[in-house]
């Protein structure tokens, strides 16, 4: 995510790159963009898992379903509000207040609200709902609408399609969040050892990838962009906004495999991911602040805005990590001491 956002501000490719239909000048630029494709599925997957964890932790404390649901809905609305205020404005370095469009944070918020109603269902049922949504979305995306009409655009792009109003429609990403909830059942309950988590994580991730490859190879249902041949880079570049069935399954599989890899590495080298541990605990803070910093210094003040290439982007990533890790550490301590409900929600 940080790599992609540094690229968005510092990399000259983004001067004219159309994220909905991207063309790249070099392989380096392809890789720079493609690594970030893992982020949104990863966010939604982990968010779905966290909602599951939140629900059962509260449940074990004796809270009833509606009071837990109320908390999740509050969090969901908070995220939508945060998107429309802070996040939207921070992209421009607070140069303009632009509340009337949505993004990934709002999408997570909506997913959280929807998930609060079914997080207590059996994992098999949640899986069935997720699969049905993923299978139906390619049909829903064909619903015609005129992007010039406000209400149909808002409704379609909030839930189904992607465009200027919202690149992250709720319905397909909610399905990924549900898959996260299902995975959480395994990671945090059913699989009681790291060995089992690694084993099942590998199996599930690999199966999702294989199914996605089959869908892609059939070139029909679940594909949006055509591709040349298996293994060519057009094979991997299907539509992200809004995601095709292939895209969702492919990146769900890789997200699960990466998480499994993290579990495996942490088992043998526990200190390797300490740097990510602190940023992971303050993920929303990290997201909101790093965009604001980049927005103010790069876009608004004009420091290296769209002037660099790959190297400058990577230098930007290192500089941002040097800024963000201590800031996140500080915020984590501050948050731990704070009783303010908004601070605790971030």
């Amino acid at each position: 995510m940080l790599v992609d956002h540094c690229s968005y501000y510092l990399n000259s490719t983004w001067e004219f790159l159309d994220p909905l239909d991207p063309l790249f000048a070099s392989w380096g630029q392809v890789v720079l963009r493609y690594v970030s494709y893992l982020c949104a599925p990863g966010f939604l997957l982990i968010n779905g898992a966290m909602v599951w964890w939140f629900y059962y932790r509260r449940k074990n404390k004796g809270l009833n379903n509606w009071s837990i649901r109320k908390e999740l809905i509050q969090r969901g609305f908070f995220l939508i509000l945060l998107q429309m205020t802070w996040v939207n404005s921070s992209w421009s370095g607070f140069n303009r207040f632009d509340p009337f469009h949505l993004g990934i944070i709002a999408c997570i918020g909506f997913s959280m609200i929807f998930q609060s109603f079914i997080v207590n269902w059996r994992w098999e049922l949640q899986l069935a709902v997720a699969v049905i949504i993923l299978l139906l979305h390619p049909i829903l995306i064909k619903i015609p609408y005129n992007p010039g009409d406000n209400l149909p655009t808002v409704l379609m792009q909030t839930f189904i399609d992607a465009g200027d109003f919202n690149k992250y429609p709720v319905i397909p990403w909610f399905a990924v969040a549900l898959l996260g909830s299902v995975m959480a059942h395994g990671w945090l309950k059913a699989w009681d050892s790291d060995k089992k988590r690694i084993y099942w994580g590998t199996i599930i991730g690999a199966c999702a990838i294989i199914v996605s490859i089959l869908i892609r190879m059939l070139r029909g249902y679940g594909n949006i962009f055509p591709f040349s041949d298996f293994g060519s880079y057009s094979f991997f570049f299907d539509q992200k906004y809004s995601p095709s069935l292939y895209f969702n399954l492919w990146f769900f599989g890789w997200s699960v495999l990466v998480i499994t890899l993290f579990i495996a590495i942490s088992k043998f080298f526990p200190k390797v991911f300490l740097i990510f541990d602190i940023t992971g605990k303050t993920a929303l803070f990290f997201y909101c602040i790093h965009i604001a910093i980049l927005g103010i210094f790069s876009k608004r003040i004009g420091i290296y805005y769209h002037q660099g290439e790959i190297t400058e982007t990577l230098i930007g990533v290192v500089i941002m990590m040097l800024i963000m890790v201590p800031l996140s550490k500080w915020f984590f301590k501050f948050k731990s001491r704070s009783s303010n409900p908004i601070i605790r929600m971030i």
Partner: protein, 425 residues
């Protein structure tokens, strides 16, 4: 044991990312038309060559005024024509192309996506930009062609400001130096490019014309676009047609013509004068005379070399590409399509030239409701065109329809079909 299998499985999956490969070679080479080509790694892979021009002929789709240097002018355009090689070997899957126009700073200012489906036999792509001075700056531009998001061809062109004229001293030098050599003729052979009927006496007849080919002497030493005027003078001394001609720095000739039809011209002594900066640099007189027999002009288009066989159907086999259940009567119904499979049959003597065909769908009201131009590159061996129309009752009325196929302006095949209403349930 299971762990080892899992690790092996993971390695195979990771290999997927590592083996991601490009369809194209990394180092480009100069190809046809000075196009920079990123060749396909496959022998049968698609290759592209790019041509820029000012206009495209409506009937034939041929480029007019091919060049790589263009004057910034109001309402002027630059067309790019991308000819695809090996298109006929790649009809098994949809092809996704992007045409990307880049300005002098290397930034993309216009991008167009073109998907060629398996039903579409086109082997050329076209895109155009407006080059009016208020939209574009002078400078070096380029066009990139991507196939499946991979760069396959690139070509540069230049936009120059025609408004910047040489200084007055240079003007006088140019007028002294540059002379116009005028040759008058009836026309130019499309095949041989030779001038037909060169002379200074021409017959007044239907579809007759006088064509002037003007060669600018000593133009080679002037590396600057120039604006000339061709002024056609009638027997009474008045100007009957004045044409402004902008020629590029690398050009040294241009042409202009007038009609010699009986309803437009009278017999008499005419004259053509060529001006540069309003100074006469060349002149030639010619006579128009009456003819007793005004025979019909012979078409130079050799359309008898082609004939079109048309088959109508609703579906085409994906495996064989052949029409399924051919018919000439179809029922109007939502979400259904009528497809025409047109086989162009040609004589063996045809030389390898770019061939353009024109399809006209004519409705029950005898008006054309859909036209399509299809061009084949010289390398295309099988000439097959597929065109389709909707059978939705909202778009079509019941009645007799007609499909006509033309080679340039000449009809080479036609076939009727009937659309009827769906029987009520």
């Amino acid at each position: 044991m299971i762990d080892k299998k899992l690790i092996l499985f993971l390695i195979i999956l990771l290999q997927l990312f590592l083996t991601v490969c490009s369809d194209r070679v990394e180092t480009p080479s100069d190809g046809e038309n000075s196009t920079t080509i990123y060749h396909s790694k496959s022998v049968n892979g698609i290759e592209a060559s790019i041509t820029f021009c000012e206009k495209i002929k409506n009937q034939t789709g041929e480029p007019v005024n091919e060049d790589t240097i263009f004057n910034l002018n109001e309402d002027s355009k630059v067309y790019s024509i991308v000819n695809l090689k090996n298109r006929e070997l790649n009809t098994d899957k949809d092809l996704m192309f992007h045409i990307d126009w880049l300005d002098s700073t290397g930034n993309s200012f216009f991008k167009k996506r073109i998907d060629l489906t398996t039903n579409d036999s086109s082997s050329t792509l076209m895109s155009l930009i407006n080059i009016s001075p208020d939209r574009r700056e002078p400078g070096k531009y380029s066009l990139r062609v991507y196939l499946f998001r991979e760069l396959i061809a690139e070509k540069n062109f230049e936009l120059v400001n025609a408004a910047i004229e040489p200084q007055a001293i240079v003007k006088n030098e140019l007028i002294e130096k540059v002379k116009a050599n005028i040759t008058l003729c009836k026309g130019i052979s499309k095949k041989t490019k030779k001038l037909l009927g060169v002379g200074n006496k021409f017959e007044i007849k239907d579809k007759g014309k006088v064509l002037a080919v003007i060669k600018i002497e000593n133009k080679d030493s002037i590396n600057h676009p120039l604006t000339f005027y061709a002024d056609w003078i009638s027997p009474d001394g008045s100007s009957l047609y004045r044409k402004e001609v902008n020629i590029k720095s690398n050009e040294a000739s241009f042409s202009s013509s007038i009609s010699a039809s009986p309803n437009k011209r009278k017999p008499g002594k005419y004259c053509l004068r060529i001006y540069l900066f309003e100074k006469l640099i060349g002149e030639k007189s010619f006579g128009l005379v009456k003819t007793e027999k005004q025979g019909k002009a012979v078409s130079e288009v050799n359309s008898e070399n082609f004939s079109a066989r048309i088959i109508f159907c609703e579906k085409i086999s994906k495996k064989t590409g052949l029409p399924i259940n051919p018919d000439s009567v179809f029922t109007l119904k939502d979400k259904r399509k009528l497809r025409a499979v047109i086989y162009i049959e040609k004589s063996d003597t045809i030389v390898k030239i770019q061939k353009s065909f024109f399809i006209k769908w004519i409705g029950s009201d005898n008006n054309s409701f859909y036209k399509k131009k299809v061009r084949f590159s010289p390398e295309d061996s099988t000439l097959k065109i597929i065109s389709s129309i909707s059978l939705s009752p909202q778009k079509r009325l019941p009645g007799n329809y007609l499909l006509k196929v033309y080679y340039t302006k000449d009809l080479i095949g036609e076939k009727k079909f009937l659309l009827k209403e769906q029987a009520e349930k």
